[in-house]
Each structure stands twice: as C-alpha cells, then as structure tokens.
C-alpha cells in the first residue's frame, strides 16, 4: 500500500506541471493582462507603460514568463489582484474559510440525509416510503443546482423567512463571538443543502441498492436462521458492509463540490472562492483567475488521487496492476 501510494503521488508531479502549463497558457489568452494590475492607472504616458511592461518582464519569451510565474507560485506568490489592490494569496485566504465551511457542511448534510433515506428505502423496498424517496432522488438528480438554489431562496428565505437569502454573515456582528458563528452557520445552511443535493441523491440510491442486494446474501440468511432480530441484522450485519463502498466515493465529491460551489456561491452571493472566481473573470482580474483555476485543478487532482487511494485500500485488487 505504501509503495502504491508513493507511486501514485509521484505520477502526480508531471501531471501538475502539465496542468500548470495549460492554465498559464489560458491566462495569457484571456482578455486583459497582468500589466494592468501593476502600473499606476493615472499615468497613461505610453513611454511609462512601455517601460513598466519591460521592467515587469511582459516582453520576455513565453517560456521565460512561465518559468518566472511557476517559480513565484512555488514560493507561494501569486501576484497582486488588479481590482482589489492586494496580494492574491491574501485575497484567497480571506475567502477560502467560507468555501471550506460550505463544503464541509454540505458533505455532513449529504451523509446524514443519504444515510437515513438510503437505510429506510433499503430496508423497506417497494413500499410507499421507498417510492417517495426514489421520486425525490430523481427530482434531485434532474434539477440543475442554480434552479434548485433559486427555488430554495424563494421558499425558505422569502416565503418562510427561515434562512437569509444572501451573504455569509449578518451585518454589524463582531467576529469571534458566539453570535458570529451562529449567524455564519445560518447563512451557510441553505447553500450547503442545495450544494449537497446531487450527491445526496446518488448516495441514497447507492446505499439502497446495496442494502437490498446484501439482504439476499447467505450471511444474512444465516443470521436470520439463528434467530437474530431484524433490527440487529440491518443495523449491524448489512449496514457495516454497505457503508464501505460509499466511503470510496468521497474523493469524487471534491470535484463535484468545486463545480457546484461556483454556481451556488454566485446565486447566494456567498463570499467564497467560487464567487471570487466568477467576479474576477467578469472584471478581467487575470492574476486571481489564474491562481483560482490552478488551485481548483489541484484540488480536483487531489480528489481523484484520494478516490483511487481509498479504493485501493478497500479493494486490494486495484493495487496490483
């Protein structure tokens, strides 16, 4: 397992380099360039602009520019944001905790909902409750996340008034207090629920089918024959076996949450990485776009790696190859 893990991590390095090249090329092709963030906007003298362009190395060959950028990135320097006049790392540092909170909360909601719905539907298949849960699953799979988000805002924020519609914190609340955290959780709950919807549907379906399949197996028949109570059979014997395959899906969640958070954060005006990404693209803030694209690609890569590693842990056949 150790050798397999090391090999998988080593393979990641050339992929990372290639991804960084692709991302850098795209950033060069984007409208607007890094220059606009570095110079005095009041000074429009062409000589000054040409001089700054030269001094910042924007006239160098592309590979030299790439090497300089990659060198800076390795030293954790992503340049400065043009619109917000601050280092990109600082800007992302402000937003990242919000996105992490959103993702973690959405995963927790997903696991809890999927666990209870999947367990119920698996234990009582082909009953009204099961059909209800299945119908809900089909709906959750079909509704695009932005449509679900708008319906959620309409019902839960405007009609019922349970949750705030936008932002990540109430106004005028001091950071660090209990009230601050409660307000934060309240603001995050609704986007997290919508974000977790798609995964909830697939997990529920997965757990349900696995429980139904397991309940036909010999070890369950043995347990029944020995007179074990139905509750104990489902909660101890079957559930333990059915939970394991779900754990392996965790890595893929990271990729789906990244795509989802871009949409969800924009709809809810939630100040996280996804919202920053969209507003930076709109404002042509290329250094921020470059940093976030790279970051999200690395996160996806790590997610896929985790998925493979966990899979190898659960199913030893994968490790041979």
């Amino acid at each position: 397992m150790l050798i397999y893990t090391l090999r998988r991590i080593l393979i990641m390095i050339p992929i990372l380099v290639m991804i960084s090249i692709v991302v850098f090329t795209l950033a060069l092709a984007m409208p607007g360039d890094a220059l606009s963030g570095q110079i005095d906007p009041a000074n429009s003298n062409p000589e000054y602009i040409a001089e700054m362009r030269d001094r910042l190395g924007l006239n160098d060959p592309v590979h030299v520019q790439y090497a300089r950028w990659a060198g800076n990135v390795l030293q954790w320097d992503f340049g400065r944001s043009y619109n917000r006049k601050m280092p990109v790392t600082e800007l992302i540092g402000q937003r990242l905790p919000n996105t992490i909170l959103l993702s973690v909360m959405s995963m927790i909601i997903t696991y809890i909902l999927a666990f209870f719905m999947g367990r119920y539907a698996g234990r009582h298949p082909y009953t009204i409750g099961d059909y209800g849960i299945q119908g809900l699953n089909y709906l959750m799979l079909a509704v695009p996340s932005f449509v679900a988000a708008i319906f959620a805002i309409f019902f839960f924020s405007f009609q019922l008034g349970w949750f705030p519609a936008t932002g990540s914190i109430g106004s005028g609340i001091q950071p660090g207090t209990m009230e601050f955290w409660l307000s934060k959780l309240k603001h995050t709950a609704l986007p997290a629920l919508v974000l977790g919807m798609l995964t909830t549907a697939s997990y529920t379906q997965f757990l349900r089918n696995d429980i139904i399949e397991s309940s036909q197996k010999d070890y369950v028949r043995t347990a029944r024959a020995k007179g074990t109570a139905e509750n104990a059979i489902y909660n101890k014997h079957i559930l333990r076996n059915s939970i394991i395959p779900i754990v392996t899906l965790f890595g893929f969640d990271i990729a789906s949450i990244i795509g989802g958070s871009v949409i969800i954060e924009t709809v809810f005006g939630f100040p996280g990485i996804g919202e920053l990404f969209i507003s930076s693209i709109t404002n042509r803030d290329s250094s921020v776009v470059l940093a976030i694209t790279l970051m999200l690609s690395v996160a996806t890569l790590v997610g896929n790696l985790i998925a493979d590693l966990v899979y190898g842990l659960v199913d030893p056949r994968i490790r041979v190859e």
């Binding site: 089909y138 709906l139 805002i153 990244i258 969209i278 693209i281 694209t293 690609s297 996806t300």
Partner: protein, 300 residues
C-alpha cells in the same frame, strides 16, 4: 394440413421476432409507462420549440418599455419580463436554443468519446495507454471552471464556440465507458474470426464491434443530453453561455439573479425553471427506460 402449416409459420415468425434484441428492447420500452409519458412530453417540447417562429405570439428580441413586468393573463399568457418581452414567446425560442445546443453538444461528445474509446479498447497496448492517459489528463480539469475560462476567451465567437468548448471538455466519461465495453466485447470469438479472415481494424470496429457497443452508446448519449442541457443553461445563467440577446432557458433564468425578481415576479423565472427541470427529468426517465429495455436481466 395447411391450417397447421399456417399455425407453425405464425409461431416461427413469433419466435423470429422474439429473437431480435432490438425488438425485445423496443417492446420493453413501449411497455414502460414512465418512459413513454416522458418521451411524449419531450417530443412535445421539441416540436413546440422548433415551431417557435410560427406559433410564438410576439417578437422574442424586441424590447417593449411600455409593457414591462406585466403579470400573467390577458394578451401576455405568461406575462412579460423586465425588458417587456413576452415570457411565453421567450420560452419557445429559448427552448429551441437550449435544445439545439444540447443535441449538438451531445452528438459531438458521443462521437469523440466513441472514436477515442473504441480505438483505445480495440488496439490496447500503447495506443490505449496514450489515449487513456490523455483522457485522464483532461478529466483532471474541473469541467465548469475550465468551460468558463475558455468561454470568456472565445466570448466574441458566439454560440458555436461555446458548443465546441463544452464538447472539447465533456467527452472523457463517454470515452471511458465505450473503451471498457469495447475491451470486453473484443474478447469474443466473432471478433477474432473477423480479424483472422483479414478484416481491417477500421472495418472490424465499424461492422462488428460498434453494433454491439451501440446499446451502451445510446444509453450514454441519452444521459449526456441531459448533462449538456444543464451545462448550457448553467453557463448562460452565470453569463458565460449564449449571448444575452439570444433567448435561451439559461438566459431567461439570469433575471432571477436579482432577489426582487425571485421574490415578487415569479412568472419570469418559474416557466424556464420548470421547462429545464421537466425536460431533464423526462430525458433521465427515457434514459433509464432504454437502459432497462436493453438489460436482459430485467424482468419487464
């Protein structure tokens, strides 16, 4: 004597009909009520959308400042939006745009996926290794993030650039599925027989492998159609999809980015939201139905 012959002929005919997997699948699908209702719904949506120029009561582009934000009823069946455009008209024209993009993207994605997947699966060895490493590489890019970046680069190029961008990043899943199916199908004797009598790789893939991988491709294509429609509407909603002057379901939803529209003017965003959701739902049901129909283990 002749009556018996007739009977026997009839029975033989029945058996012959039963033996075609396509006939079995078609019968199973026709008996699947949910899939049939979905199919009728989807066909209706498609026909209405493509007849938009003939049945839409208003001009989808013309801005009418006198009739802004009218609630449903009267001349405007579903009301008007913030620019005074008729929502029902926009819904019809928007469906045409969204469905066209969905179908074209699906066709491109499934074609790329089939070509890459069947070549990798058939040849194996280094061809497979190169193609699959490339597929894995493309898979590592977060789909939505890269589509948005590319769409912002090619913004001036319009709808077709959008279609190409979505397709260029969306084919990886299909390629993997087609490859694994081709690999298992390749082990059968008929493929070896076809190769041993001198069939060229192209001919073996096209005439022998593809017809047997076709069921997988059809199921995959149905599910991809739903994914592609979601991709287009999401991108348009975020402002990186179809140019804002062109009606599309995603562009119609864009107005719901303002909280006061969500709160008070439900007629602007509920119709496209329902259209998108019901279309995706019906496509998913059809996809499930087709999958079920091709599955020899399913009882129906």
């Amino acid at each position: 004597m002749s009556a018996m012959d007739n009977q026997q002929a009839e029975r033989l005919e029945k058996i012959a009909k039963k033996q075609s997997p396509w006939a079995i699948a078609r019968r199973k699908l026709l008996r699947n009520k949910l899939a049939m209702i979905s199919l009728i719904f989807l066909v209706t949506v498609i026909i209405l959308s493509f007849l938009a120029p003939f049945i839409a009561p208003f001009d989808p582009i013309r801005v009418d400042p006198m009739n802004r934000n009218i609630s449903p009823g009267g001349a405007h069946l579903l009301g008007t939006d913030a620019a005074g455009r008729d929502v029902w008209t926009l819904l019809l024209y928007g469906g045409r745009t969204s469905l066209t993009i969905g179908f074209v993207c699906m066709a491109l994605v499934i074609s790329i996926g089939t070509v890459v997947g069947s070549i990798a699966g058939f040849y194996g060895g280094w061809v497979d290794a190169v193609l699959m490493r490339f597929t894995d590489f493309v898979m590592n890019f977060p789909f939505l993030v890269f589509v948005i970046v590319l769409a912002s680069i090619f913004r001036e190029a319009g709808i077709w650039a959008l279609v190409l961008v979505i397709s260029a990043l969306g084919w990886t899943g299909a390629a993997r599925v087609v490859r694994s199916k081709t690999m298992s199908e390749k082990e059968n004797e008929y493929v070896m027989a076809a190769i041993s009598i001198g069939g060229t790789p192209f001919k073996v893939i096209r005439k022998h492998l593809l017809p047997n991988v076709m069921t997988t491709i059809i199921v995959q294509a149905t599910l991809l159609l739903a994914v592609m429609i979601v991709a287009e509407t999401s991108l348009s909603f975020l402002g990186f999809g179809v140019p804002s002057g062109t009606p599309s379901w995603g562009n119609m939803m864009q107005e719901a980015r303002q909280p006061h529209v969500i709160r008070t003017m439900w007629w602007i965003w509920v119709p496209p939201a329902m259209a998108i959701t019901l279309t995706i739902l019906s496509i998913n049901f059809i996809g499930e139905g087709i999958k079920d129909a091709f599955n020899p283990k399913s009882a129906r």
